[in-house]
């Protein structure tokens, strides 16, 4: 028991140290503008599932982020004389990405609320929308404004203004928060929720593209900023904000947002022209490709590191044993999702690791802990007499392990290891939260692009099954050929 607390202390100490390092204020003098100009790129973070602000279109099988916000960002980049880079991620991750230098600005239909202003610097407002509620057309007579939803369930994007509006201003309602608008629409159609709160132009876009939907005015009491849309920057980026505000002023004066919205509308028309799943085969293929890539690389490093950690844990050396135990227990005791975010955002504070690499690192490190336990179990399950017989013949410890113990352990662990690979195909989907375009991510992209909820889910489900089923078959084949009895 005493040992247990030593370990707990060790692990917690490590975490606190890391947290301490990363919590140090990175604020020096404001060099935000100079920095952007120096690197020659302006990185925009956005969650492209919010037409007409930002969404994905399919151009000859290639996907692209378009929308009013993209046009605005392009203008700003042009005014600054730098290149625009677009980084996609979930709405929830945007502010963390800003804080951790992954992006220079967030343009994602974001409202400059007082709460957000505590941690983010905002540009001037570039668009004033209003809050609407999207409903099923069949329910048209039932709902008139927010007060019609008392005691009902409504949906809104997690972490959004709409979410807190629903919570605060609709009495006794259940507000269901989902990450993606496309999922909310699905929830609406299946009556999991009766309305979805979203900004007027977005709601308009959905109504224009889906005959089964219509919208009503929410009549919310809107506080400061809740009606507005602005660009977010890292706290203390005054020089960059001032420069960007010049562009926003021009946009305002020349009424450019009207043009931008029209531009977005035209994309939405062409975008919805062909919504068969076949048309989006390229999307799915890309998703499958990334899912397989992440899985294969992670399996490779997972096994390699897994063997090392298993041997550490089995080692007689106290230090190695301790490190092995601490690693394995800590990784198995925390969710993969947090590990992915930790690698991308946390470690990313010190070294800039691209999202895909971060995803692969996190999944590999996670898998290593599980593989280590599988291997340790396999090694322990080899009868002690096997080792003794080998040692009595004069084989060294290492020779015994390599020729006698490990091959037998491998036979024992193969089925469990196979399960681990198969589940890795599925679990790797978590990397979609940091914007890695794996199959889950692409599924959402197709949902947004086609305004279809269920069909892409079915396609993705079948694709996952094909991958896991064929892998199981291949592994079974090897397992059979390894039997000696």
């Amino acid at each position: 028991m005493k040992k247990f607390f030593v370990w707990l202390g060790l692990v917690l100490g490590l975490v606190v140290t890391l947290a301490g390092i990363s919590a140090q204020p990175a604020q020096a003098a404001d060099n935000s503008l100079a920095r952007v100009k120096e690197k020659g790129t302006l990185v925009m973070g956005t969650s492209p599932d919010y037409p007409p602000y930002e969404f994905l279109v399919n151009r000859n099988g290639k996907e692209r982020v378009v929308g009013m916000d993209v046009d605005i960002a392009k203008k700003i980049a042009k005014d600054l004389g730098v290149k625009l880079v677009i980084k996609q991620m979930s709405f929830d991750s945007l502010l963390v990405a800003l804080e951790t230098n992954k992006v220079d600005m967030v343009v994602s239909g974001m409202s400059p609320t007082p709460a957000r202003e505590k941690s983010v610097d905002f540009s001037k407002v570039y668009y004033k929308g209003g809050q609407s509620i999207l409903i099923n057309k069949t329910d048209k007579g039932l709902y008139h404004d927010k007060n019609s939803f008392i005691n009902k369930a409504v949906g809104a994007q997690t972490g959004s203004i709409q979410y807190s509006l629903g919570k605060k201003q609709i009495k006794n309602s259940t507000v269901k928060g989902l990450d993606k608008i496309s999922d909310l629409i699905l929830a609406l159609k299946s009556h999991k929720v009766e309305g979805v709160i979203m900004e007027k132009p977005s709601a308009q876009a959905y109504v224009d593209n889906d005959k089964s939907l219509t919208m009503i005015n929410g009549n919310f009491n809107l506080g400061k900023g809740e009606n507005d849309t602005a660009i977010g920057f890292r706290k203390g980026s005054t020089s960059l904000v001032n420069e960007v505000n010049k562009s926003v002023d021009q946009i305002d004066k020349q009424g450019l947002t009207k043009d931008y919205l029209k531009d977005a509308g035209s994309y939405m028309k062409t975008n919805t022209h062909n919504t068969t799943m076949w048309h989006y085969a390229g999307y799915f293929a890309k998703g499958v490709g990334y899912t397989l890539l992440i899985t294969v690389i992670s399996v490779f490093f997972g096994i390699l590191l897994g063997i090392i950690f298993a041997l550490m844990r089995l080692s007689k050396n106290k230090l190695l044993h301790g490190l092995g135990v601490a690693y394995i227990e800590f990784v198995r005791g925390t969710p993969l999702m947090i590990q992915v975010m930790f690698v991308y955002f946390g470690i990313g504070l010190f070294i800039n690791i691209p999202a895909l690499t971060s995803g692969i690192i996190a999944v590999s490190l996670n898998s290593a802990a599980y593989v280590a336990e599988i291997i340790r179990g396999g090694i322990n399950s080899v009868a002690k007499g096997q080792t003794e017989a080998a040692r009595s013949l004069g084989l060294s410890n290492t020779q015994t392990f390599r020729s006698v113990v490990f091959p037998q352990a491998l036979k024992n662990i193969w089925p469990a290891l196979g399960n681990e690979f198969v589940s890795l195909i599925k679990e790797s989907s978590i990397v979609s939260i940091i914007g890695v375009t794996d199959l889950i991510y692409q599924l959402k992209a197709v949902q947004t692009a086609t305004y279809k909820g269920v069909a892409p889910i079915i396609v993705a489900m079948i694709l996952y099954f094909i991958m896991t089923f064929s892998l199981s078959k291949v592994l079974n084949h090897y397992e059979r050929s390894m039997r000696h009895d």
Binding site: A383, G385, Q386, E388, A389, A390, R391, S392, L393, G394, L395, S396, N397, Q399, S403, V404, P407, Q408, K411, H484, D485
Partner: protein
């Protein structure tokens, strides 16, 4: 005659329980020692201390003038190959065929060429009457066959002494004979052997010395005739009486 193995004040504790309590003895070249005694008396532990599979708590084991208890792992590996060991539960390597089992140590430890090792393995398998099983996996063999392979495997390192820990206890009665026969042949060829056994017939016929072990000590040592026909120690008498009853 010089002692091949010399045991001085050998003690072994597992935690607080003292399993071996200051054993003394010596084995000379060509001698066959049978160790008998009741279950839990420490026979296996004693045998395993001879090649240091078990590390003695105190005392000395000397083999061919090398004090084993003072050596490091690397030096021990070199001497272990000179001490073949056969286990109650055979312990054939499950992931290898019969011939691979026999070849493994010569190839890995002695760096013998594959050809040479094959020849050696086949002749040893012939010696134990199992040449035709060379390519079978252990799981497909009977217990008696497995134990004979295990003997061939130990012999492949050309050991100076063979340690047997109840080699026939796990066998069906009809297979005991074939294994004892192989062991008897070995003894006749002049192999030095230490055999822990419950086969009193074998001990009577083959042993030069019988050591009766009980409660972690050698309660009585003597020739088969002295131990079986004229036991002096009460505990020896008790033990033999029980064995004969069964």
């Amino acid at each position: 005659m010089t002692d091949m193995i010399k045991i001085e004040d050998l003690s072994k504790k597992f935690g607080d329980t003292e399993v071996l309590k200051g054993l003394n003895g010596s084995v000379s070249k060509g001698q066959v020692i049978c160790v008998i005694g009741p279950s839990g008396g420490g026979k296996s532990t004693f045998l395993r201390c001879l090649n240091l599979l078990e590390k003695p708590t105190s005392g000395k084991v000397t083999f061919e003038s090398n004090e084993l208890t003072a050596l490091n792992e690397g030096q021990l590996n070199e001497l272990r190959e000179k001490m073949g060991m056969v286990f109650q539960s055979f312990n054939l390597f499950a992931n290898m065929t019969v011939i691979e089992n026999v070849k493994l140590a010569p190839v890995k430890v002695k760096n013998m060429s594959d050809d040479e090792a094959n020849k050696l393995a086949l002749s040893l398998l012939d010696q134990v009457g199992l040449q035709e099983k060379a390519d079978a996996y252990p799981a497909s063999l009977s217990g008696g066959q497995q134990q004979r392979v295990a003997i061939a495997r130990a012999l492949a390192m050309n050991p100076d002494v063979m340690l047997f820990d109840e080699p026939t206890s796990a066998l069906d009665p009809e297979m005991v004979g074939e294994v004892l026969k192989v062991m008897q042949d070995l003894a006749n060829d002049g192999m030095t052997m230490v055999v822990v056994t419950h086969e009193m017939g074998f001990a009577k016929n083959v042993a030069d010395q019988v050591w009766f072990m009980d409660g972690g000590v050698f309660a009585e040592k003597g020739t088969p005739d002295e131990i079986f026909e004229h036991p002096k120690n009460e505990r020896t008498k008790d033990f033999l009486a029980k064995i004969l009853e069964a």
